[in-house]
Symmetry: C2
Subunit: 384 residues, 2 copies
């Protein structure tokens, strides 16, 4: 099978870019990723975007971004899977190189969520839930994660404060990321005393949606050899799905899509949980990261939250998480999250993460989720 | 390179399915396509859909359809490119088999456009145009095609009546398609005397948007050999893009994405225009089909409309078009069109098209366009 390498990255700061369009943000990140590489060498563009149609009244972003970035007529796609959009775009871009159709392709994760009415934003985010059984009753994704957290607290006997180390770790790491939305530390006390959003999720248990674009350039081995390194190899790539509606799942605390895609990615990479030096998960709330840690096999059922409490998710821990701020401090860019995650891990695997560098990081895992984990994309990256 | 075969098809009638959701239509078509094949054998689902988020308040259709069809946890995607959504989904599904990632995958084209307010529908369809320069001024896609037709009439000296044979041919063929939206013939006189919609496009020059779902099963050669035939080989597959906004194109009457994707598909298939026995193009209006015929190389610039006037697009002609009604009589199912097109051609290549059978049809071309031709997907099919 043809090997696929990440040979370039680019991103905009995560922020409220009121004056920008999704296309303009994506073009900036794409131009930055290309650097000295001629745009004509790009064979295809895979755009991951969740809300362009709903909030930007612009669909066909693949074609729009291709043209705006000066790649007129190039093959271009838009993939949508809520918060997993960036991850599924990466998977398809990866397959396009494995298939032999292309030698160099760009993965663009982009989201523009500000400069819209608050109600429109909440409604747009709820599109990734089940329209007929959840969204129609006003059930937001945040409300559903809160219900899962409540169930977790009840079933395993934890306290809401046990989840506070997730946002605290994310903010601590985010201070080192100049592109992060929030670059200040927070404390467990501050998390617990924050205004309640959806009980038991307080304001500081919740990520903030913001605008941003992130780009990865993928290349075949032959092209990667030509370009300046170090390059990072995609050793495993997998996507899986689950029901949109929580009530359709036999066990709501088990993220089946996350489990299945992680297991498939590990299988493809011929690696196991113990090989992972650093990781990025969907960590919109501590409960999401907890359930993902369990689904991926980093912790037994009912023990994921202990990895945060015991400091294992810190830079010096066994499962360093959100090393550049995660979605909590970097900001939740919805369809772009999956690409920002991989860029953060590439920085780690290149040994270029500065004061948040995980020592001797050689193997990394990125996983992003759409809706309440209805789509999961998992990638395993290796510094050869 | 691994060969890819179409081993199954399924579709719902194109109609106003007020009581159905997109997921329910897709599940019906998928179940019908699978027939005796166990759902567990499907490795991935590629959904082409343009308006789920905008009109159905449901995104993540890949996961939704997978679960509804009993394929819980399967790899699933949603691709969006306006009216080209079905074609780009087919292209990615094709590449997933070429890459070796899968042996059997499903391509689902689905659209649900009825049971919404008329204004919402027009606005949703305009998402595929340029939001900043076109849609914001109220410019619909129909209005833009009308402007291109006016320009064509002026530049080449035709009369609007010269385009009438396109819908007349489509309706004549649609009478034989039990799943078509319209199953009655129309005349050139009727076309020309119809109520004006966007001068020079009258009501019968315009396709009608309607609901429907269509499914293709693609398989590797090994799996295709196991299953009952005849199977149709995908000999060429290509996608290209152009600017969203008409005013950004150096020559508005030249559909550059259509030209580039057709040329790439012909190159991959090692075939030429003269080899095509039957074809499906985006034929929302005669002007669209005319410009596509020219871009694909079936006619010189300024002469595409003559193929209709001279009867070449009829069943007995040199370029039989819309043999099952095209988007005019079959109905415009937006993101599903690209899949319905291919099913219609598979029927021709299997010699199963009954009274609209093109004699000795062995090679076919399907092309679908998104927006004003901003995305184009072209596939060449061969009965081996």
């Amino acid at each position: 099978m043809r090997q696929v390498y990440i040979v370039g990255t680019g991103q905009t700061p995560v922020a409220e870019h009121w004056e920008r369009t999704a296309t303009s943000l994506a073009t900036e990140a794409l131009t930055s990723a290309l650097g000295q590489i001629s745009p004509e060498r790009v064979g295809a563009i895979y755009v991951g975007n969740a809300l362009g149609g709903a909030l930007q009244v612009q669909s066909q972003l693949g074609a729009a971004i291709a043209a705006a970035a000066g790649l007129r007529c190039v093959e271009a796609y838009t993939l949508e899977a809520g918060g997993a959009s960036g991850g599924v775009a990466l998977r398809q871009a990866y397959l396009s190189i494995v298939s032999g159709a292309h030698e160099l392709v760009a993965v663009v994760g982009v989201e523009k969520v500000t400069d819209v009415l608050d109600g429109a934003l909440e409604a747009a985010l709820a599109l990734a839930g089940d329209a007929d059984w959840e969204a129609i009753h006003g059930t937001t994704l945040t409300a559903q994660w809160a219900m899962l957290m409540r169930r977790y607290l009840y079933q395993y006997g934890y306290d809401a404060a046990d989840f506070a180390p997730f946002p605290v770790n994310a903010h601590a790491n985010g201070t080192a990321n100049p592109d992060a939305l929030y670059r200040f530390p927070i404390t467990v006390d501050k998390v617990r005393s924050a205004t309640m959003v959806a009980d038991p999720l307080g304001m500081l248990d919740c990520s903030t949606v913001a605008d941003g674009a992130a780009v990865l350039l993928l290349a075949s081995e032959a092209i990667a050899r030509e370009l300046p390194g170090p390059h990072i190899r995609i050793a495993g790539s997998a996507v899986a799905t689950d029901t949109l509606a929580l009530h359709s799942r036999p066990d709501p605390l088990w993220l089946a899509a996350a489990a299945r895609s992680a297991s498939a990615a590990f299988g493809a990479a011929k690696l196991a949980v113990g090989d992972i030096d650093v990781l990025e998960l969907t960590d919109l709330h501590g409960i999401v990261a907890t359930l993902a840690l369990e689904a991926c096999g980093f912790a037994e059922r009912g023990t994921g939250v202990q990895l945060a409490r015991e400091g294992a998710i810190g830079i010096g821990g066994t499962t360093p998480l959100a090393t550049r701020g995660g979605s909590k401090a970097r900001g939740d860019t919805v369809g772009a999250n999956g690409v920002y995650q991989v860029i953060d891990l590439v920085l780690q695997l290149r040994g270029a993460a500065g004061k948040v560098q995980v020592p001797e990081a050689r193997v990394a895992l990125a996983q992003c989720l759409g809706g309440i984990g209805a789509t999961a994309a998992t990638h395993i990256l290796v510094a050869d």
